[in-house]
Protein backbone atom coordinates (compact mmCIF):
# COMPACT_ATOMS: atom_id res chain seq x y z
CA UNK A 1 0.00 0.00 0.00
CA UNK A 2 2.69 2.40 1.03
CA UNK A 3 4.71 1.47 -1.98
CA UNK A 4 1.76 2.05 -4.26
CA UNK A 5 1.25 5.45 -2.74
CA UNK A 6 4.83 6.34 -3.45
CA UNK A 7 4.56 5.40 -7.12
CA UNK A 8 1.33 7.26 -7.37
CA UNK A 9 3.01 10.40 -6.10
CA UNK A 10 5.80 9.98 -8.58
CA UNK A 11 3.39 9.55 -11.45
CA UNK A 12 1.53 12.60 -10.34
CA UNK A 13 4.74 14.56 -10.19
CA UNK A 14 5.67 13.48 -13.69
CA UNK A 15 2.23 14.29 -14.99
CA UNK A 16 2.30 17.78 -13.49
CA UNK A 17 5.78 18.37 -14.83
CA UNK A 18 4.77 17.32 -18.35
CA UNK A 19 1.71 19.55 -18.23
CA UNK A 20 3.77 22.48 -17.00
CA UNK A 21 6.31 22.00 -19.75
CA UNK A 22 3.63 21.64 -22.40
CA UNK A 23 1.92 24.85 -21.25
CA UNK A 24 5.22 26.66 -21.28
CA UNK A 25 5.93 25.53 -24.83
CA UNK A 26 2.46 26.66 -25.93
CA UNK A 27 3.01 30.08 -24.39
CA UNK A 28 6.45 30.49 -25.92
CA UNK A 29 5.21 29.38 -29.33
CA UNK A 30 2.33 31.87 -29.20
CA UNK A 31 4.09 34.99 -30.54
CA UNK A 32 5.76 32.97 -33.29
CA UNK A 33 2.50 31.37 -34.39
CA UNK A 34 0.81 34.76 -34.22
CA UNK A 35 3.41 36.42 -36.41
CA UNK A 36 3.64 33.58 -38.92
CA UNK A 37 -0.13 33.24 -39.15
CA UNK A 38 -0.64 36.92 -39.86
CA UNK A 39 2.19 36.90 -42.38
CA UNK A 40 0.77 33.91 -44.26
CA UNK A 41 -2.59 35.64 -44.52
CA UNK A 42 -1.10 38.86 -45.81
CA UNK A 43 1.34 37.10 -48.15
CA UNK A 44 -1.30 36.91 -50.91
CA UNK A 45 -1.43 40.68 -51.11
CA UNK A 46 2.31 41.07 -50.72
CA UNK A 47 2.83 38.90 -53.79
CA UNK A 48 0.93 41.40 -55.89
CA UNK A 49 2.13 44.69 -54.51
CA UNK A 50 5.34 45.49 -52.72
CA UNK A 51 5.30 46.27 -49.02
CA UNK A 52 6.72 49.76 -49.49
CA UNK A 53 4.01 50.61 -51.96
CA UNK A 54 1.29 49.29 -49.70
CA UNK A 55 2.55 51.20 -46.69
CA UNK A 56 3.11 54.54 -48.40
CA UNK A 57 0.36 54.65 -51.02
CA UNK A 58 -2.55 57.00 -50.37
CA UNK A 59 -5.08 55.12 -52.48
CA UNK A 60 -7.49 53.05 -50.42
CA UNK A 61 -9.99 51.65 -52.90
CA UNK A 62 -10.70 48.03 -52.00
CA UNK A 63 -13.15 47.60 -54.89
CA UNK A 64 -10.38 48.33 -57.39
CA UNK A 65 -7.83 46.33 -55.47
CA UNK A 66 -5.90 49.37 -54.23
CA UNK A 67 -4.86 49.01 -50.62
CA UNK A 68 -2.75 51.98 -49.57
CA UNK A 69 -2.38 52.07 -45.80
CA UNK A 70 -0.74 55.50 -45.57
CA UNK A 71 -3.82 57.51 -44.47
CA UNK A 72 -4.42 55.04 -41.64
CA UNK A 73 -0.80 54.97 -40.55
CA UNK A 74 -0.68 58.78 -40.47
CA UNK A 75 -3.90 58.91 -38.43
CA UNK A 76 -2.51 56.37 -36.00
CA UNK A 77 0.68 58.38 -35.61
CA UNK A 78 -1.21 61.63 -35.03
CA UNK A 79 -3.48 60.15 -32.38
CA UNK A 80 -0.69 58.28 -30.62
CA UNK A 81 1.81 61.12 -30.51
CA UNK A 82 -0.80 63.64 -29.43
CA UNK A 83 -2.00 61.29 -26.68
CA UNK A 84 1.55 60.92 -25.41
CA UNK A 85 2.07 64.71 -25.50
CA UNK A 86 -0.96 65.08 -23.24
CA UNK A 87 -0.38 62.12 -20.95
CA UNK A 88 3.42 62.26 -20.69
CA UNK A 89 3.92 65.52 -18.77
CA UNK A 90 0.92 64.85 -16.53
CA UNK A 91 2.27 61.42 -15.59
CA UNK A 92 5.77 62.73 -15.02
CA UNK A 93 4.60 65.55 -12.75
CA UNK A 94 2.19 63.32 -10.85
CA UNK A 95 4.76 60.57 -10.39
CA UNK A 96 7.35 63.02 -9.06
CA UNK A 97 4.80 64.58 -6.73
CA UNK A 98 3.61 61.26 -5.37
CA UNK A 99 7.04 59.79 -4.78
CA UNK A 100 9.04 62.84 -3.69
CA UNK A 101 6.73 65.42 -2.16
CA UNK A 102 4.10 63.49 -0.24
CA UNK A 103 3.95 61.04 2.61
CA UNK A 104 3.59 57.33 1.94
CA UNK A 105 -0.11 57.19 2.80
CA UNK A 106 -0.95 59.54 -0.07
CA UNK A 107 0.48 57.08 -2.59
CA UNK A 108 -1.50 54.32 -0.93
CA UNK A 109 -4.62 56.43 -1.27
CA UNK A 110 -3.97 57.13 -4.94
CA UNK A 111 -3.31 53.50 -5.80
CA UNK A 112 -6.98 52.46 -5.99
CA UNK A 113 -7.65 55.45 -8.25
CA UNK A 114 -4.91 54.38 -10.64
CA UNK A 115 -6.01 50.74 -10.50
CA UNK A 116 -9.62 51.56 -11.27
CA UNK A 117 -8.60 53.85 -14.14
CA UNK A 118 -6.48 51.01 -15.51
CA UNK A 119 -9.32 48.54 -15.13
CA UNK A 120 -12.09 50.47 -16.87
CA UNK A 121 -12.81 48.70 -20.19
CA UNK A 122 -11.96 50.58 -23.34
CA UNK A 123 -15.55 50.56 -24.55
CA UNK A 124 -16.57 52.50 -21.43
CA UNK A 125 -13.84 55.03 -22.19
CA UNK A 126 -15.38 55.23 -25.64
CA UNK A 127 -18.82 55.96 -24.23
CA UNK A 128 -17.31 58.59 -21.94
CA UNK A 129 -15.57 60.06 -24.95
CA UNK A 130 -18.86 60.32 -26.82
CA UNK A 131 -20.80 61.92 -23.97
CA UNK A 132 -18.09 64.13 -22.52
CA UNK A 133 -15.06 64.72 -24.73
CA UNK A 134 -16.87 65.05 -28.08
CA UNK A 135 -19.09 67.95 -26.89
CA UNK A 136 -16.09 69.46 -25.10
CA UNK A 137 -14.08 69.52 -28.31
CA UNK A 138 -16.84 70.72 -30.62
CA UNK A 139 -18.36 73.32 -28.28
CA UNK A 140 -15.37 74.66 -26.39
CA UNK A 141 -11.96 73.67 -27.74
CA UNK A 142 -12.60 74.12 -31.46
CA UNK A 143 -14.22 77.60 -31.14
CA UNK A 144 -11.35 78.57 -28.84
CA UNK A 145 -8.91 77.87 -31.67
CA UNK A 146 -11.23 79.53 -34.21
CA UNK A 147 -12.10 76.39 -36.13
CA UNK A 148 -15.11 74.21 -36.51
CA UNK A 149 -15.27 70.58 -35.62
CA UNK A 150 -17.97 67.98 -35.26
CA UNK A 151 -16.15 66.80 -32.17
CA UNK A 152 -15.28 63.46 -33.73
CA UNK A 153 -11.66 64.27 -34.39
CA UNK A 154 -8.03 63.35 -33.92
CA UNK A 155 -7.88 65.51 -30.81
CA UNK A 156 -10.87 63.77 -29.22
CA UNK A 157 -9.31 60.38 -29.86
CA UNK A 158 -6.04 61.60 -28.40
CA UNK A 159 -7.67 62.95 -25.23
CA UNK A 160 -9.52 59.68 -24.62
CA UNK A 161 -6.36 57.70 -25.34
CA UNK A 162 -4.33 59.94 -23.05
CA UNK A 163 -6.66 59.20 -20.15
CA UNK A 164 -6.43 55.49 -20.94
CA UNK A 165 -2.64 55.34 -20.96
CA UNK A 166 -2.15 57.60 -17.92
CA UNK A 167 -2.54 54.80 -15.32
CA UNK A 168 -0.28 52.58 -17.38
CA UNK A 169 2.58 55.09 -17.69
CA UNK A 170 2.09 56.38 -14.16
CA UNK A 171 2.51 52.93 -12.61
CA UNK A 172 5.82 52.40 -14.39
CA UNK A 173 7.08 55.89 -13.56
CA UNK A 174 6.24 55.50 -9.86
CA UNK A 175 8.20 52.26 -9.88
CA UNK A 176 11.13 53.96 -11.64
CA UNK A 177 11.29 56.88 -9.19
CA UNK A 178 10.91 54.60 -6.20
CA UNK A 179 13.92 52.55 -7.27
CA UNK A 180 16.25 55.54 -7.26
CA UNK A 181 18.39 55.36 -4.12
CA UNK A 182 17.56 57.93 -1.43
CA UNK A 183 21.23 58.75 -0.97
CA UNK A 184 21.24 60.59 -4.28
CA UNK A 185 18.48 62.92 -3.14
CA UNK A 186 20.06 63.33 0.26
CA UNK A 187 23.46 64.16 -1.18
CA UNK A 188 21.97 66.76 -3.49
CA UNK A 189 19.90 68.35 -0.73
CA UNK A 190 22.83 68.45 1.66
CA UNK A 191 24.83 70.37 -0.92
CA UNK A 192 22.27 73.12 -0.70
CA UNK A 193 20.07 72.42 -3.71
CA UNK A 194 16.40 73.10 -3.31
CA UNK A 195 13.88 70.30 -3.58
CA UNK A 196 12.94 71.21 -7.14
CA UNK A 197 16.57 71.58 -8.22
CA UNK A 198 17.23 68.10 -6.87
CA UNK A 199 14.32 66.74 -8.85
CA UNK A 200 15.35 68.56 -12.01
CA UNK A 201 19.08 67.91 -12.02
CA UNK A 202 19.43 64.64 -10.12
CA UNK A 203 16.25 62.59 -10.16
CA UNK A 204 15.03 63.22 -13.67
CA UNK A 205 18.52 62.79 -15.07
CA UNK A 206 19.00 59.53 -13.21
CA UNK A 207 15.56 58.27 -14.19
CA UNK A 208 15.79 59.41 -17.78
CA UNK A 209 16.08 55.95 -19.42
CA UNK A 210 13.18 54.79 -17.27
CA UNK A 211 11.07 57.77 -18.29
CA UNK A 212 11.79 57.18 -21.96
CA UNK A 213 10.87 53.53 -21.73
CA UNK A 214 7.68 54.27 -19.79
CA UNK A 215 6.71 56.62 -22.62
CA UNK A 216 7.66 53.96 -25.16
CA UNK A 217 5.39 51.43 -23.51
CA UNK A 218 2.66 54.06 -23.41
CA UNK A 219 3.07 54.62 -27.14
CA UNK A 220 2.77 50.92 -27.91
CA UNK A 221 -0.33 50.70 -25.72
CA UNK A 222 -1.90 53.70 -27.45
CA UNK A 223 -0.99 52.51 -30.93
CA UNK A 224 -3.04 49.35 -30.65
CA UNK A 225 -6.04 50.69 -28.76
CA UNK A 226 -9.13 49.98 -30.81
CA UNK A 227 -12.68 50.41 -29.65
CA UNK A 228 -12.40 53.60 -27.62
CA UNK A 229 -10.59 55.43 -30.41
CA UNK A 230 -12.86 54.00 -33.09
CA UNK A 231 -15.89 55.44 -31.31
CA UNK A 232 -14.66 59.03 -31.18
CA UNK A 233 -12.20 59.58 -33.99
CA UNK A 234 -14.63 60.00 -36.88
CA UNK A 235 -13.39 57.27 -39.23
CA UNK A 236 -12.97 59.23 -42.46
CA UNK A 237 -10.41 57.87 -44.92
CA UNK A 238 -8.16 60.88 -45.44
CA UNK A 239 -4.82 62.20 -44.40
CA UNK A 240 -5.72 64.52 -41.53
CA UNK A 241 -4.42 68.07 -41.88
CA UNK A 242 -5.15 69.26 -38.38
CA UNK A 243 -6.05 67.94 -34.99
CA UNK A 244 -9.68 69.03 -35.33
CA UNK A 245 -10.21 66.85 -38.39
CA UNK A 246 -11.44 63.28 -38.31
CA UNK A 247 -8.96 60.47 -38.80
CA UNK A 248 -9.02 56.72 -39.28
CA UNK A 249 -6.36 54.81 -37.31
CA UNK A 250 -5.20 51.30 -38.22
CA UNK A 251 -6.97 49.35 -35.45
CA UNK A 252 -10.23 51.09 -36.30
CA UNK A 253 -9.80 50.08 -39.93
CA UNK A 254 -9.49 46.43 -38.96
CA UNK A 255 -12.40 46.54 -36.52
CA UNK A 256 -14.76 48.39 -38.86
CA UNK A 257 -14.38 46.17 -41.88
CA UNK A 258 -14.42 42.67 -40.51
CA UNK A 259 -17.92 42.13 -41.85
CA UNK A 260 -17.33 42.82 -45.51
CA UNK A 261 -13.77 41.64 -45.76
CA UNK A 262 -14.66 38.22 -47.08
CA UNK A 263 -16.76 39.55 -49.97
CA UNK A 264 -13.97 41.47 -51.72
CA UNK A 265 -10.87 39.61 -52.93
CA UNK A 266 -7.65 40.38 -51.10
CA UNK A 267 -9.52 42.62 -48.64
CA UNK A 268 -8.94 40.21 -45.75
CA UNK A 269 -5.31 39.99 -46.79
CA UNK A 270 -4.99 43.78 -46.55
CA UNK A 271 -6.61 43.84 -43.11
CA UNK A 272 -4.33 41.05 -41.87
CA UNK A 273 -1.40 43.06 -43.18
CA UNK A 274 -2.52 46.01 -41.07
CA UNK A 275 -2.80 43.67 -38.08
CA UNK A 276 0.73 42.47 -38.83
CA UNK A 277 1.96 46.07 -39.01
CA UNK A 278 0.37 46.78 -35.63
CA UNK A 279 1.90 43.62 -34.17
CA UNK A 280 5.40 44.41 -35.43
CA UNK A 281 5.34 48.08 -34.42
CA UNK A 282 4.06 47.29 -30.93
CA UNK A 283 6.61 44.50 -30.47
CA UNK A 284 9.45 46.78 -31.57
CA UNK A 285 8.43 49.57 -29.20
CA UNK A 286 7.95 47.12 -26.36
CA UNK A 287 11.28 45.49 -27.07
CA UNK A 288 13.21 48.77 -27.04
CA UNK A 289 11.47 50.04 -23.91
CA UNK A 290 11.88 46.82 -21.94
CA UNK A 291 15.55 46.67 -22.91
CA UNK A 292 16.02 50.21 -21.62
CA UNK A 293 14.33 49.30 -18.32
CA UNK A 294 16.53 46.24 -17.90
CA UNK A 295 19.63 48.33 -18.56
CA UNK A 296 18.46 50.86 -15.99
CA UNK A 297 17.90 48.16 -13.38
CA UNK A 298 21.39 46.81 -13.93
CA UNK A 299 22.90 50.23 -13.31
CA UNK A 300 21.19 50.96 -10.04
Amino acid sequence: MKRFFKINRKIRNTFHKRWMLLSLIVVIAMPIVLGVGLYLKSAMLLEQTSLIKLLFSKEWKPMQGLFGLWPFIVSSLWVTILALLIAGPICLLAAIYMTQYTKKYFLRMMHPVIDILAGIPSVVYGVWGVIFVVPLVSNHLAPFFNTQSSGYSILTGAIVLAVMIIPFILNILIEVFRNIPDQLTEASLSLGATHWETVKHVLVRKAFPGIVSAFGLGISRAFGETIAVLMVVGNVTQIPKGIFQPGYPLPALIANNYGEMLSIPLYDSALMLSALVLFVVVLLFNFASRMAIIKLERHT
Binding site: R9, R12, N13, H16, K17, W19, M20, L21, S23, L24, V27, P31, L34, G37, L38, K41, I90, L93, A94, Y97, M98, M110, P112, V113, I114, I116, L117, G119, I120, S122, V123, V124, Y125, V127, W128, I131, V163, T194, W196, V199, S220, G224, T226, I227, M231, P251, I254, A255, Y258, D268, L271, M272, A275, L278, F279, V282, L283, F285, N286, F287
Partner: protein, 286 residues
Protein backbone atom coordinates in the same frame (compact mmCIF):
# COMPACT_ATOMS: atom_id res chain seq x y z
CA UNK B 1 16.69 88.40 -7.53
CA UNK B 2 18.05 85.05 -8.64
CA UNK B 3 16.80 83.52 -5.46
CA UNK B 4 13.37 84.92 -6.17
CA UNK B 5 13.21 83.25 -9.57
CA UNK B 6 14.47 80.02 -8.09
CA UNK B 7 11.68 80.07 -5.57
CA UNK B 8 9.14 81.06 -8.20
CA UNK B 9 10.15 78.16 -10.40
CA UNK B 10 9.85 75.77 -7.49
CA UNK B 11 6.42 77.10 -6.62
CA UNK B 12 5.15 76.95 -10.19
CA UNK B 13 6.26 73.37 -10.68
CA UNK B 14 4.92 72.32 -7.32
CA UNK B 15 1.59 73.81 -8.33
CA UNK B 16 1.67 71.97 -11.64
CA UNK B 17 2.48 68.71 -9.91
CA UNK B 18 -0.43 69.07 -7.50
CA UNK B 19 -2.65 69.98 -10.41
CA UNK B 20 -1.57 66.89 -12.38
CA UNK B 21 -2.04 64.54 -9.45
CA UNK B 22 -5.44 65.77 -8.42
CA UNK B 23 -6.37 66.11 -12.08
CA UNK B 24 -6.03 62.37 -12.51
CA UNK B 25 -8.35 61.71 -9.58
CA UNK B 26 -10.80 64.28 -10.94
CA UNK B 27 -10.81 62.60 -14.36
CA UNK B 28 -11.80 59.27 -12.80
CA UNK B 29 -14.53 61.10 -10.90
CA UNK B 30 -15.76 62.77 -14.11
CA UNK B 31 -15.82 59.47 -15.99
CA UNK B 32 -17.87 57.71 -13.34
CA UNK B 33 -20.21 60.67 -12.85
CA UNK B 34 -20.88 61.16 -16.55
CA UNK B 35 -21.61 57.45 -17.07
CA UNK B 36 -23.89 57.55 -14.01
CA UNK B 37 -25.80 60.63 -15.14
CA UNK B 38 -26.37 59.29 -18.62
CA UNK B 39 -26.90 55.66 -17.70
CA UNK B 40 -28.94 55.69 -14.52
CA UNK B 41 -32.23 57.10 -15.93
CA UNK B 42 -32.63 54.28 -18.46
CA UNK B 43 -31.36 51.49 -16.25
CA UNK B 44 -34.24 49.28 -15.18
CA UNK B 45 -34.86 45.80 -13.89
CA UNK B 46 -36.55 44.97 -17.15
CA UNK B 47 -33.37 45.78 -19.00
CA UNK B 48 -31.27 43.50 -16.87
CA UNK B 49 -33.63 40.54 -16.83
CA UNK B 50 -34.86 40.20 -20.42
CA UNK B 51 -33.38 39.27 -23.74
CA UNK B 52 -34.10 41.57 -26.71
CA UNK B 53 -37.68 41.33 -27.97
CA UNK B 54 -38.87 42.17 -31.46
CA UNK B 55 -38.16 45.78 -32.31
CA UNK B 56 -35.59 46.09 -29.52
CA UNK B 57 -33.21 47.91 -31.79
CA UNK B 58 -35.87 50.51 -32.60
CA UNK B 59 -36.40 51.33 -28.96
CA UNK B 60 -39.06 48.75 -28.14
CA UNK B 61 -39.13 46.29 -25.26
CA UNK B 62 -36.42 43.97 -24.13
CA UNK B 63 -33.12 44.00 -22.30
CA UNK B 64 -29.49 43.07 -22.50
CA UNK B 65 -29.56 39.85 -20.49
CA UNK B 66 -28.14 38.01 -23.50
CA UNK B 67 -25.09 40.27 -23.47
CA UNK B 68 -24.58 40.08 -19.71
CA UNK B 69 -24.79 36.29 -19.64
CA UNK B 70 -22.69 36.00 -22.79
CA UNK B 71 -19.96 38.20 -21.32
CA UNK B 72 -19.93 36.22 -18.10
CA UNK B 73 -19.64 32.96 -20.04
CA UNK B 74 -16.79 34.36 -22.09
CA UNK B 75 -14.94 35.78 -19.12
CA UNK B 76 -15.40 32.72 -16.89
CA UNK B 77 -14.47 30.30 -19.65
CA UNK B 78 -11.36 32.13 -20.71
CA UNK B 79 -10.20 32.86 -17.15
CA UNK B 80 -10.52 29.18 -16.29
CA UNK B 81 -8.65 28.12 -19.40
CA UNK B 82 -5.97 30.73 -18.85
CA UNK B 83 -5.55 29.63 -15.23
CA UNK B 84 -5.21 26.02 -16.35
CA UNK B 85 -2.32 26.96 -18.62
CA UNK B 86 -0.98 30.03 -16.85
CA UNK B 87 -0.62 28.79 -13.28
CA UNK B 88 1.53 25.76 -14.23
CA UNK B 89 3.74 27.95 -16.39
CA UNK B 90 4.28 30.45 -13.58
CA UNK B 91 4.99 27.64 -11.10
CA UNK B 92 7.36 25.93 -13.51
CA UNK B 93 9.28 29.14 -14.00
CA UNK B 94 9.70 29.69 -10.27
CA UNK B 95 10.25 26.14 -9.01
CA UNK B 96 11.65 23.88 -11.69
CA UNK B 97 13.67 26.54 -13.46
CA UNK B 98 14.84 28.27 -10.30
CA UNK B 99 18.51 27.72 -11.10
CA UNK B 100 18.27 28.83 -14.70
CA UNK B 101 17.93 32.56 -14.20
CA UNK B 102 18.79 33.46 -17.76
CA UNK B 103 16.12 31.24 -19.29
CA UNK B 104 13.47 32.47 -16.85
CA UNK B 105 14.35 36.09 -17.53
CA UNK B 106 14.06 35.46 -21.26
CA UNK B 107 10.61 33.95 -20.78
CA UNK B 108 9.62 36.93 -18.63
CA UNK B 109 10.84 39.27 -21.32
CA UNK B 110 8.83 37.40 -23.94
CA UNK B 111 5.70 37.56 -21.81
CA UNK B 112 6.19 41.29 -21.25
CA UNK B 113 6.37 41.71 -25.01
CA UNK B 114 3.18 39.71 -25.44
CA UNK B 115 1.42 41.72 -22.73
CA UNK B 116 1.57 44.77 -24.95
CA UNK B 117 0.16 43.17 -28.10
CA UNK B 118 -3.19 44.84 -28.81
CA UNK B 119 -6.28 42.68 -28.49
CA UNK B 120 -7.38 43.47 -32.04
CA UNK B 121 -4.32 41.57 -33.31
CA UNK B 122 -5.43 38.51 -31.35
CA UNK B 123 -8.93 39.06 -32.70
CA UNK B 124 -7.76 39.19 -36.30
CA UNK B 125 -5.52 36.17 -35.76
CA UNK B 126 -8.33 34.22 -34.10
CA UNK B 127 -10.60 35.09 -36.97
CA UNK B 128 -8.23 33.82 -39.65
CA UNK B 129 -7.59 30.60 -37.71
CA UNK B 130 -11.35 30.19 -37.40
CA UNK B 131 -11.80 30.59 -41.16
CA UNK B 132 -8.90 28.22 -41.77
CA UNK B 133 -10.49 25.53 -39.60
CA UNK B 134 -13.91 26.14 -41.12
CA UNK B 135 -15.46 27.15 -37.79
CA UNK B 136 -18.27 29.67 -37.43
CA UNK B 137 -18.55 32.54 -34.98
CA UNK B 138 -18.99 30.85 -31.64
CA UNK B 139 -18.62 31.03 -27.90
CA UNK B 140 -15.69 28.60 -28.06
CA UNK B 141 -13.78 30.71 -30.59
CA UNK B 142 -14.32 33.76 -28.39
CA UNK B 143 -13.14 31.97 -25.27
CA UNK B 144 -9.99 30.76 -26.99
CA UNK B 145 -9.18 34.20 -28.41
CA UNK B 146 -9.65 35.91 -25.05
CA UNK B 147 -7.57 33.18 -23.41
CA UNK B 148 -4.67 33.91 -25.76
CA UNK B 149 -5.02 37.58 -24.89
CA UNK B 150 -5.14 37.21 -21.07
CA UNK B 151 -2.59 34.41 -20.61
CA UNK B 152 0.48 36.73 -20.63
CA UNK B 153 -1.25 39.09 -18.21
CA UNK B 154 -2.12 36.27 -15.84
CA UNK B 155 1.26 34.54 -15.95
CA UNK B 156 3.20 37.72 -15.33
CA UNK B 157 0.91 38.76 -12.47
CA UNK B 158 1.19 35.33 -10.78
CA UNK B 159 4.92 35.17 -11.52
CA UNK B 160 5.45 38.53 -9.84
CA UNK B 161 3.99 37.09 -6.59
CA UNK B 162 5.75 33.73 -6.80
CA UNK B 163 9.04 35.55 -7.27
CA UNK B 164 8.77 36.94 -3.77
CA UNK B 165 8.56 33.51 -2.10
CA UNK B 166 11.82 32.91 -0.23
CA UNK B 167 13.99 30.08 -1.46
CA UNK B 168 14.07 28.63 2.04
CA UNK B 169 10.45 27.61 1.78
CA UNK B 170 11.16 25.54 -1.33
CA UNK B 171 14.18 23.92 0.27
CA UNK B 172 12.28 23.15 3.46
CA UNK B 173 9.45 21.54 1.54
CA UNK B 174 11.76 19.48 -0.64
CA UNK B 175 13.88 18.35 2.28
CA UNK B 176 10.77 16.99 3.98
CA UNK B 177 10.40 14.63 1.06
CA UNK B 178 7.67 16.22 -1.01
CA UNK B 179 7.95 16.17 -4.78
CA UNK B 180 8.32 19.35 -6.76
CA UNK B 181 4.74 19.33 -7.93
CA UNK B 182 3.50 18.89 -4.37
CA UNK B 183 5.68 21.78 -3.31
CA UNK B 184 4.28 23.82 -6.15
CA UNK B 185 0.58 23.25 -5.57
CA UNK B 186 0.47 22.72 -1.81
CA UNK B 187 3.09 25.16 -0.59
CA UNK B 188 3.66 27.84 -3.20
CA UNK B 189 0.06 28.22 -4.27
CA UNK B 190 -1.09 28.35 -0.68
CA UNK B 191 1.55 30.89 0.22
CA UNK B 192 0.64 33.12 -2.72
CA UNK B 193 -3.12 32.71 -2.82
CA UNK B 194 -3.89 36.43 -2.26
CA UNK B 195 -1.69 37.39 -5.19
CA UNK B 196 -3.10 34.63 -7.39
CA UNK B 197 -6.64 35.79 -6.68
CA UNK B 198 -5.68 39.33 -7.65
CA UNK B 199 -4.09 38.04 -10.85
CA UNK B 200 -7.14 35.93 -11.74
CA UNK B 201 -9.52 38.82 -11.14
CA UNK B 202 -7.28 41.15 -13.13
CA UNK B 203 -7.44 38.73 -16.06
CA UNK B 204 -11.19 38.31 -15.57
CA UNK B 205 -11.69 42.07 -15.74
CA UNK B 206 -9.62 42.27 -18.92
CA UNK B 207 -11.59 39.42 -20.43
CA UNK B 208 -15.01 40.82 -19.66
CA UNK B 209 -14.17 44.32 -20.82
CA UNK B 210 -12.43 43.59 -24.06
CA UNK B 211 -14.32 44.22 -27.26
CA UNK B 212 -11.74 44.00 -30.00
CA UNK B 213 -10.88 40.32 -29.48
CA UNK B 214 -14.51 39.15 -29.50
CA UNK B 215 -15.61 41.43 -32.32
CA UNK B 216 -14.41 38.95 -34.93
CA UNK B 217 -14.83 35.67 -33.18
CA UNK B 218 -18.03 35.43 -31.14
CA UNK B 219 -20.49 37.16 -33.42
CA UNK B 220 -23.65 38.61 -31.92
CA UNK B 221 -27.04 37.14 -31.18
CA UNK B 222 -30.23 37.98 -29.34
CA UNK B 223 -30.35 34.62 -27.60
CA UNK B 224 -28.53 33.22 -24.62
CA UNK B 225 -26.10 30.59 -25.93
CA UNK B 226 -26.78 27.02 -24.85
CA UNK B 227 -23.73 25.38 -26.39
CA UNK B 228 -20.11 26.22 -27.08
CA UNK B 229 -20.73 26.33 -30.82
CA UNK B 230 -23.41 29.03 -30.66
CA UNK B 231 -22.63 32.66 -31.40
CA UNK B 232 -22.68 34.82 -28.29
CA UNK B 233 -23.49 38.40 -27.45
CA UNK B 234 -21.15 40.33 -25.17
CA UNK B 235 -21.56 43.50 -23.14
CA UNK B 236 -18.84 45.60 -24.79
CA UNK B 237 -20.25 44.84 -28.22
CA UNK B 238 -23.81 45.47 -27.00
CA UNK B 239 -22.67 48.92 -25.88
CA UNK B 240 -20.81 49.52 -29.12
CA UNK B 241 -23.67 48.48 -31.41
CA UNK B 242 -26.37 50.27 -29.47
CA UNK B 243 -24.38 53.49 -29.32
CA UNK B 244 -24.06 53.60 -33.11
CA UNK B 245 -27.85 53.46 -33.48
CA UNK B 246 -29.66 56.65 -34.49
CA UNK B 247 -32.65 55.91 -32.21
CA UNK B 248 -32.37 57.89 -28.96
CA UNK B 249 -33.93 55.16 -26.76
CA UNK B 250 -31.39 52.64 -28.00
CA UNK B 251 -28.58 55.11 -27.34
CA UNK B 252 -29.81 55.60 -23.80
CA UNK B 253 -29.68 51.85 -23.36
CA UNK B 254 -26.06 51.90 -24.51
CA UNK B 255 -25.28 54.33 -21.67
CA UNK B 256 -27.11 52.09 -19.22
CA UNK B 257 -25.19 49.05 -20.50
CA UNK B 258 -21.94 50.97 -20.06
CA UNK B 259 -23.00 51.65 -16.48
CA UNK B 260 -23.63 47.93 -15.94
CA UNK B 261 -20.18 47.07 -17.28
CA UNK B 262 -18.55 49.76 -15.14
CA UNK B 263 -20.31 48.44 -12.05
CA UNK B 264 -19.12 44.90 -12.81
CA UNK B 265 -15.54 46.15 -13.14
CA UNK B 266 -15.78 48.14 -9.90
CA UNK B 267 -17.19 45.12 -8.07
CA UNK B 268 -14.32 42.97 -9.35
CA UNK B 269 -11.81 45.58 -8.21
CA UNK B 270 -13.31 45.79 -4.71
CA UNK B 271 -13.69 42.00 -4.51
CA UNK B 272 -10.04 41.46 -5.32
CA UNK B 273 -9.03 43.81 -2.51
CA UNK B 274 -11.30 42.11 0.03
CA UNK B 275 -10.41 38.56 -0.99
CA UNK B 276 -6.68 39.13 -1.09
CA UNK B 277 -6.85 40.64 2.40
CA UNK B 278 -8.91 37.75 3.72
CA UNK B 279 -6.56 35.07 2.39
CA UNK B 280 -3.55 36.85 3.82
CA UNK B 281 -4.10 34.67 6.90
CA UNK B 282 -2.95 31.44 5.27
CA UNK B 283 0.41 32.95 4.53
CA UNK B 284 3.53 31.86 6.43
CA UNK B 285 5.30 34.94 7.69
CA UNK B 286 9.05 35.14 7.70
Amino acid sequence: MRKFFKLLEERIFQGLMILATYGIAVVLFVIIISILIKGLPSLSWEMLSQTPKGGFYFGKEGGILNAIIGSLYLAFGSTLLALLIGLPVALYMNIHLLNRKKLVNTIRFLLDLLWGVPSIVYGAFGFSVMIFLGMRNSLLAGIITITLFIIPIMIRAIDEVLKSVPRGLLEASLSLGSTRSETAYRVFVKQCIPGIITAVLLAFGRGIGDAAAVLFTTGYTDYIPTSLSHPTASLPLAIFFQLSSPVPEVKDRAYASALVLTIIILVISILSRILSRRFQKTKINF
